[in-house]
C-alpha cells in the first residue's frame, strides 16, 4: 500500500513557475536538487558551497506557502458554433490562511474557477497547484483523496444530503476518509456544537432553516480539517442577517484553524473581512485588491 503512495515534495518557486507538465519532471529532479542547491547567482563563483547552501535554505524558509496557485488557466466551452471563454488565462496565487473573496458579475467565471481549483473540472490549458502539487498529475483515487482531505466545499444550495440527519451529514466525509465511526461521530458532534447546532444534531434538512442547513454544510466542509475551503456564493439563498452570520462563522473558522477560505460573493458587505479580493470580469482577473485597498474600494462602491 505505502509503496503506491507518491510523495509530493514542495518545490521552490523557480520550478513551479516553469509551469506546464513540469511537476512530474520536478519530482524527478528532487533528489538532485537536495544534493545541489540551485546556484541562484551563477556569477558568485567564489562563494563557498556552504554559503550557497545557507542561502538556499534561508530562501526556502522565507517562501510563503502557496495553498492554491493557478497558472495561465483557461476553460473554453463550446455551445454549438459559439465558443465561450469561461476562463481566460487566469493566474492567481493564494497563500495559506488567507481569506479571499471573489467578486464579479454573473457569468464572469467565478463558479468555473471554483470547479477548477476544487479539482472538479479540468482546465483546457494551464495548471492548478494545490499545496504546490500539480492536480493534473493525480489519478482518480488521489483526486478523491484530495477532495476528501484537502478541500472543503460549501455550496450556494447547501447540498446537504436530504435524507440524512445533520450528524450523519457531517460524519460522512470522515467515514470516507477512514476515521473510525465512533471517533467520527464525536468529532461531528463537536463541530456541530461549534457552528451553533448542538441542539439540532439529529434533525434532517427538512426540519432546519436555510441558515441552519448552511451551518451543517460548513461543519461538513470543516470535518476533515481541510487546507482549503471553497465557498461558492454561500449566502445567496439567505437573508442579509443570516448571510452575515454565515460569513462571520467562516471567518472565525478561518482564523481559528488557519484554513484558507476562498469565497465567491455578490455581497459588498461581506468584503470587510477579506484579506484580499479578486475581481473577475469576462473570465479574466480584472484586479486583485489587497487588504489595505479593500476598505477604499468598498467606500468607493458605496458612494456610487
Amino acid at each position: 500500500m505505502s509503496s503506491k503512495k507518491k510523495k509530493h515534495k514542495r518545490h521552490g518557486k523557480q520550478q513551479t513557475r516553469a509551469h506546464a507538465p513540469a511537476a512530474k519532471i520536478n519530482q524527478a529532479l528532487q533528489p538532485e536538487k537536495a544534493k545541489n542547491p540551485p546556484a541562484r547567482q551563477p556569477a558568485a563563483g567564489n562563494r563557498s558551497a556552504a554559503a550557497a547552501r545557507i542561502d538556499w535554505f534561508s530562501n526556502l524558509n522565507q517562501e510563503t506557502e502557496h495553498t492554491v496557485m493557478t497558472r495561465n488557466v483557461s476553460k473554453i466551452y463550446h455551445l454549438g458554433e459559439e465558443t465561450v471563454h469561461a476562463l481566460d488565462d487566469v493566474s492567481v496565487t493564494i497563500d495559506r490562511g488567507e481569506y479571499i473573496s471573489i467578486m464579479g458579475p454573473s457569468g464572469s467565471g467565478k463558479t468555473t474557477l471554483f470547479n477548477i481549483v476544487g479539482a472538479l473540472l479540468k482546465p483546457n490549458e494551464g495548471n492548478v497547484f494545490i499545496d504546490e502539487v500539480d492536480v493534473a498529475q493525480l489519478d482518480a483515487n488521489e483526486l478523491a483523496w484530495l477532495r476528501c482531505r484537502k478541500i472543503g466545499y460549501i455550496f450556494q444550495s447547501y447540498n446537504i444530503v436530504k435524507v440524512f440527519t445533520a450528524l450523519e451529514n457531517v460524519t460522512l466525509p470522515m467515514l470516507f476518509a477512514g476515521v473510525p465511526p465512533d471517533e467520527a461521530q464525536d468529532r461531528a458532534i463537536n463541530i456541530l456544537e461549534r457552528v451553533g447546532l448542538g441542539d439540532r444534531i439529529l434533525h434532517t434538512p427538512k426540519e432546519l432553516s436555510g441558515g441552519q442547513q448552511q451551518r451543517v454544510a460548513i461543519a461538513r466542509a470543516f470535518a476533515n480539517r481541510p487546507a482549503i475551503i471553497l465557498a461558492d456564493e454561500p449566502t445567496a439563498n439567505l437573508d442579509l442577517h443570516t448571510g452575515e452570520e454565515i460569513i462571520h462563522l467562516m471567518k472565525e473558522m478561518n482564523r481559528e484553524q488557519g484554513v484558507t477560505v476562498i469565497c465567491a460573493t455578490h455581497d459588498h458587505k461581506m468584503l470587510d473581512i477579506s484579506d484580499r479580493i479578486i475581481w473577475m470580469e469576462d473570465g479574466r482577473v480584472k484586479k486583485i485588491a489587497n487588504r489595505d485597498e479593500v476598505k477604499i474600494d468598498i467606500a468607493e462602491m458605496r458612494e456610487k
Binding site: K6, K9, R10, Q62, E65, N115, L120, N141, N159
Partner: protein, 199 residues
C-alpha cells in the same frame, strides 16, 4: 508575508473502499424509498414464485403446454429485469445531486457503483426468498385441491436445495443485470454538477 513552512512535504493518500459503508448506504437508500422498494421486491417475488411453482408442480405431458409455460416464465423474468432497471435508474437519477455532492466529499466511483449494486442485490435476495415461499405455498394449495391427501406423490418436492438455489441465483442475477447499467451511470456522474446551479 513570511511564513515558515510547517510541513516540508506531504503525502497524497489513497482512499479505501469500505464495504460496511457501502451496505449502510444501500440500506438507507432502500429505506427512504420504501414504497418503491416494496413494489420492486414484489415483482421479483412474483417472478421467482412463478418459477418455483413451475419447478415443483407435476410436469405436463404435453410438450406444447410445457413450452408455453417456459415462454411465459421467460417473459416474466424479462419484464422483471426491465422493472428493476427502471427502478434503479429512477433511484439514481433522483440522487444526481446527492451523488455529485458525495463525490465532492470523497466518495470513490467504486463506492457509488457498489452501493447501487448492493441496493438491488438486497431487493433481489429478499424478493427471491419471498418468491420461493410464495411458490411453494401455491404449489401446495393447488396440489391439495387437485390431488387431495395423495398430493405428495405427484408434486416434485425433491431436490429442494438445488431448486431453491436456482431460484435465488436467477433472482439475484436478474437484479444484478438490471442494476448494472444504472450503477455504471451513477458511478460516472461528475462531482462538479453539485457545485453548479440550483435545485
Amino acid at each position: 508575508m513570511i511564513r515558515k513552512t510547517s510541513q516540508a512535504e506531504w503525502e497524497i493518500g489513497e482512499l479505501a473502499l469500505k464495504p460496511g459503508l457501502v451496505l449502510s448506504m444501500a440500506f438507507s437508500s432502500l429505506k427512504i424509498r420504501l414504497t418503491r422498494t416494496f413494489l420492486t421486491v414484489l415483482t421479483i417475488t412474483t417472478a421467482s414464485g412463478f418459477m418455483m411453482y413451475l419447478l415443483t408442480m407435476p410436469r405436463s405431458d404435453d410438450p406444447v403446454d410445457r413450452d408455453g409455460w417456459l415462454l411465459m416464465l421467460g417473459l416474466c423474468l424479462l419484464v422483471c429485469a426491465a422493472g428493476v432497471m427502471n427502478t434503479m435508474l429512477m433511484s439514481v437519477a433522483q440522487r444526481y445531486r446527492e451523488i455529485g455532492t458525495m463525490k465532492c466529499l470523497g466518495a470513490l466511483d467504486s463506492f457509488v457503483l457498489f452501493s447501487v449494486i448492493a441496493e438491488s442485490a438486497i431487493i433481489g435476495a429478499v424478493g427471491s426468498i419471498a418468491g420461493i415461499i410464495l411458490g411453494l405455498l401455491i404449489t401446495t394449495l393447488i396440489g391439495a385441491a387437485e390431488y387431495g391427501s395423495g398430493m405428495f406423490s405427484y408434486l416434485r418436492f425433491d431436490g429442494m436445495t438445488v431448486k431453491i438455489l436456482i431460484v435465488i441465483c436467477v433472482g439475484m442475477s436478474l437484479t444484478a443485470m438490471g442494476a448494472s447499467i444504472p450503477a455504471w451511470i451513477a458511478s460516472k456522474m461528475p462531482p462538479m454538477d453539485a457545485m453548479r446551479g440550483e435545485k
